[in-house]
Amino acid sequence: MSNGDRILRQAIDWHIRLADGDTDLWHGFVAWLEADTAHAKAYDRVASDDALLDDRGAQPVRPTIVPVPRRADARRKKAVFWGAGMAAVLTGAIGLAYFRPAADAPYFVEAPAGGGRQVMLADGTRIMIHAGGRLRLDRAHPRLAAIEKGEALFQVRHDPANPFRVEAAGRVIEDLGTIFDVAARGPELRVAVAEGSVSFNSGQNHILLKPGMVINASADDQIEIRHVDPGTVGAWRLGHVDFDDVALRDVVRQLRLSNGIRIALSPELGSRRFSGVLRNDRGGDEIVRSLAQLSETRALRVAGGWMLERSAAR
């Protein structure tokens, strides 16, 4: 390996480790930079390329789903995209669309059953819609989104003077600078916060949600709050959902909210717990089959959905 290559490798190693380095690591890095001017040059190559990835906002992204009308204007404000199109590339299931409907009227964005969809709003707010989800947006009210059905992850460009609001299942969720996930179907709602905080308002209940908090609201506005690892919020966008010792009825509820799959549990499964990974970029039938297999139950087709019961033989 040439000396230049060796130095470039070192520069890369530093760059990776510095991303979450403490003061000591930075001191080591400064010493390394000072040891040889070639070190600084190599590091600059690595850092400059990496910075390029940060402001690829002006770059066209490749939608994997049907492209929607895109604004011709190629030069937008810097780095509004975070890293647009990534999810698309990463699961192959999520398409990205830079949304520009023609008229100032409400419009709908829907993710097909087999894959998610990403929407970028003009202010840089990014919404990832879970497969089968449907959102209502309105150019006249750019800081408002309504979930018609399904689940979406919001990465909101925060503006204290003009908070971003999500309406879902008759409640209002207001961003206070944050990343959060909302799933709604009919009157049921779940909100989970990954970063920052969110205000939840059902008229009757007004609650401030912090990272890792999950709120479940039922049809009769019964509220239940849980705590999860904030890093797992919105993890469905990776194409799968991990359950770790979760009550089977909660798994069923989640599949109903997120995927629109209706599953009834036979009474003897009421207290059963479930651990396993379900792909959520698959069709409902396939998801139910995996669930049955992993939970050692039997899935029967019933009117309007499925019924899980204990498998007969073991």
Binding site: L8, L33, V46, A51, Q59, L90
Partner: protein, 182 residues
């Protein structure tokens, strides 16, 4: 406000680390005056910043300084490149070339990077995209994929090496992290 305590914490860190911050900027920019400029700018930014709690104030300030040095380099090299191209073509430099030029060079490089990432083994490409495009923290990626954080770092090394067209980009040798003096 309780935030002000955090702010003075940041400021305290800045003051304590100022000499090393200056060394960092000098080493990166190769110019003491410019290093002082950037340090001053960093100080101003810190004093106007919203004081949200920060997990690692020391690392945070160094990262800010380092990013500012990178930005300085990039705008500098873009303007130098514009200048030299202009001089080559027209023999003078008192006109401004539209910034589109620099943008085009950047997009060309981005395409190269994308191609390099696309050519990586699927798992490596996925990890790199999560980390670099989605800003998912390494620890979270490790949990999601079910491998260790250091294995994630190996994948990232492979990806960055491929981007910089280094030989052995797809090998899995430990790299130079262990050899570095710390």
């Amino acid at each position: 406000m309780e935030g002000s305590a955090e702010f003075s914490g940041l400021r305290a860190y800045f003051l304590r680390e100022r000499p090393t911050l200056l060394r960092l900027l000098k080493a990166r920019l190769g110019n003491p005056d410019e290093a002082e400029d950037v340090l001053q700018e960093l100080w101003l930014r810190l004093s106007t910043m919203n004081s949200a709690p920060i997990a690692q104030p020391g690392g945070y300030i160094f990262r800010m300084a380092n990013n500012m040095a990178t930005d300085r380099h990039r705008s500098l090299s873009a303007s130098m490149r514009r200048e030299s191209e202009w001089i080559e073509t027209y023999g003078q430099s008192d006109e401004i070339v539209p910034p589109v030029e620099a943008g085009m060079l950047a997009s060309e490089r981005l395409r190269q990077i994308d191609a390099a990432v696309a050519a990586l083994p699927e798992r490596t490409a996925r990890i790199f995209r999560l980390y670099r495009y989605e800003d998912v923290p390494r620890r979270t990626i490790a949990e999601l994929i079910g491998i260790s954080v250091s294995a994630i770092e190996k994948h990232l090394q492979v990806a960055y090496r491929a981007i910089h067209a280094l030989e052995g980009a797809d090998d899995d040798e430990p790299g130079t992290a262990g050899e570095q003096e710390r």
